[in-house]
């Protein structure tokens, strides 16, 4: 009823100090909620980007090759045929790249790191080159130039290497320096290769510490393997959300083609050696994973962040609930005579209940809308500022070296709806108190 909306609005305006105070508190919680959600989505966004650039395709065709029952190499043989099977059976493929999966040491005169060694054919790595950013020399060299040096396309030449800033810093190297790469072969013998650093990229969190890129040629040579083998095919789809469905489909396809397909385990390939080495088969088996499987050891970051965020929001919302109840209860008490009068004139209990809920609901709607818009604006602003994150541990968690926030429109709507509904719910008790007031209380003469 329009008159109830009118009374509710006028009541809110009448008690503007109270309205402003409570409204700001609700708006603040809404803004915090949106900020936290935007950070979570930012992390998720960074996770997706860095995972699908550094660690995996949307769907990965990898696997293990065993010459004896007790060894295991993360290799797939006859990669051309596998690629053809994917092309023939998966619709909407945007591209397929090959990455060799190695692990070894990188040594310089000043330091040593352990890292994944990825063999790349840089001419096929358009996506990778679009998504990474080169670091300024000053980012990783004390007193270095304040400009980008190096060129990833030089990875086309043999005996070259590219890495991320944190590793370059640990090794104390700059573009043009030589490093030594050392790996362990299947029997325990080591093999080494000297390479020139041709490019250094900006860190994108934890994953970048484990990504050193070499030309495919060099990896083949280091591991002494044949050119028709690779580590995995990284398959990119037009829609990342189809990854799991495509993975499941491909498992059936490869089985039908006569391949040994490993049971799906949501873990990165390097966690699977023990299992594979314990199994009693030899030859090739195929392991199909999604990008999420390959970075499943990182999703705890999101889980933890979300847990902290939700506890924070719950506490805030709890405080607000007490505030709303208390404020409305006081306000209803103060209006005992007016409510009694309305009841005496002929307003029903339910209409009184509705009036108080409406008052809270309108306040909630206004305040959450305001807070949400403010939160979205602040989040967008912070994202645009590209604030650098100076602490490595935090970078590792955020999976980026700048603070990235992503505002998701559906979150804004959900935030407004949820919080204003919640406000109305918190008003239930005071509203019930008001509805229970007796019409005879209109007769009290106390002004």
């Amino acid at each position: 009823m329009r008159v109830l909306v009118h009374i509710a609005l006028r009541n809110l305006f009448q008690a503007r100090r109270r309205t402003a105070l409570l409204g700001s508190a609700i708006a603040l919680v809404s803004a915090s909620l949106i900020l936290l959600l935007s950070i979570a989505h930012g992390i998720e966004d960074s996770l997706v980007t860095s995972a699908t650039t550094l660690s995996a395709g949307h769907v990965n065709v990898g696997g293990f090759y065993k010459t004896t029952a007790t060894d295991a190499a993360p290799l797939i043989t006859d990669k051309a045929k596998l690629r053809q099977i994917v092309m023939d059976n998966v619709p909407g493929v945007e591209g397929i790249i090959e990455r060799h999966r190695g692990w070894g040491k990188v040594l310089s005169p000043f330091g040593t790191i352990q890292s994944g060694l990825q063999g790349v054919d840089i001419s096929t790595e358009k996506r990778f080159l679009e998504r990474i950013q080169l670091a300024k020399e000053s980012d990783y060299v004390e007193g270095g130039r304040d400009e980008v040096v190096g060129d990833p396309s030089k990875l086309a030449q043999p005996r070259t290497v590219m890495m991320f800033a944190a590793n370059a810093r640990k090794l104390g190297v700059r573009v043009g320096d030589e490093v030594t790469i050392q790996i362990e072969l299947l029997g325990g013998a080591t093999n080494t290769l000297d390479a020139t650093l041709v490019a250094v990229a900006r860190d994108v969190g934890m994953l970048s510490s484990f990504a050193v890129l070499l030309p495919t040629q060099d990896v083949l040579e280091l591991y002494r393997i044949r050119p028709e083998t690779t580590g995995a095919l990284w398959v990119y789809l037009d829609d990342i959300d189809r990854a799991e469905a495509v993975r499941a489909d491909l498992a059936k396809v490869f089985e039908a083609e006569g391949y040994r397909v490993m049971d799906h385990v949501a873990a990165p390939f390097f966690f699977k050696f023990d299992t594979v080495m314990g199994e009693d088969w030899t030859g090739q088996s195929i392991d199909l994973t999604t990008w999420e499987d390959e970075v499943s050891f990182l999703t705890w970051v999101l889980t933890a962040f979300n847990a902290v965020s939700w506890s924070l929001v719950t506490v805030l919302v709890g405080i607000i609930a007490v505030g709303i109840m208390n404020t409305l209860y006081t306000s209803v008490r103060e209006r005992t005579r007016e409510i009694g009068t309305m009841r005496a004139i002929g307003m029903t209990r339910w209409q009184v209940l509705g009036l108080v809920l409406l008052e809270a609901g309108l306040l909630g709607l206004g305040a959450t809308a305001l807070g949400t818009v403010a939160g979205a604006a602040i989040a967008t602003g912070i994202d645009l500022l590209n604030l650098p994150v100076p602490i490595l541990a935090v970078q590792a968690i955020l999976l980026a070296d700048t603070l990235h926030l992503k505002v998701v429109p559906s979150n804004l709507v959900a935030g407004v709806v949820a919080l204003s509904t919640f406000t109305a719910l918190a008003a239930l008790w005071p509203a019930w108190q008001a509805a229970s007031m007796r019409p005879v209380s209109a007769m009290s003469h106390i002004e």
């Binding site: 002929g346 307003m347 007769m443």
Partner: protein, 225 residues
Amino acid sequence: MAIVQLQGVVKEYPLGKLVVSALRGIDMTIERGEFTVIAGPSGSGKTTLLNLIGCVDVATRGTVLVDGQDTGRLSDADLTRLRLHKLGFIFQSFNLINVLDVHQNVEFPLLLSGTLTPGERDKRVRSLIDRVGLTEQLIQRPAELSGGQRQRVAIARALVTNPAIVLADEPTANLDSGTGASIIELMKELNRTEGTTFIFSTHDHAVMSHARRIVKIRDGAVESE
């Protein structure tokens, strides 16, 4: 048939371990169109009596019939409906809704009953505001009106639904005698022209002189007619 009929009405208020008897067996009949004053000293039970007739409270014992309905047997929803459609209230402290202006205050009961179209409603509201002489104050809020003006708004609000009975508990107590007299005049005129039954309480002798019927009560019992 009588519009209001009370038989052996007793009202007791519990007060801690004590019980206060506000009304001790009232028998009374009020006919349609009467203009009745309930008079008596402070504490005699005037307000209590009007509350029972006004269906904002129920008797401890005895029966209260309003427009033929036994209020003791009605649910809260039924009582609310009875108040909305059959009764009008004029309060000692005016009891307007502070956040609504004059027009909105008078319109309020009509919005609750929802029986008229917006056009009819507006006509009815304006004619009543005109009757109480507040056409100039249409969009003023209660805080911007004098006591007498507020009580006029209350009278218009009480009459807007065309109730069978209008109850007024000491409607002039918060007004100076001149203004009080004009308010009583207005009620009398409305009683004459609209045929509305008026029941009001007072202990002001000047006011009593206007009444056609005076019921005197003392200590919760009818003393004389």
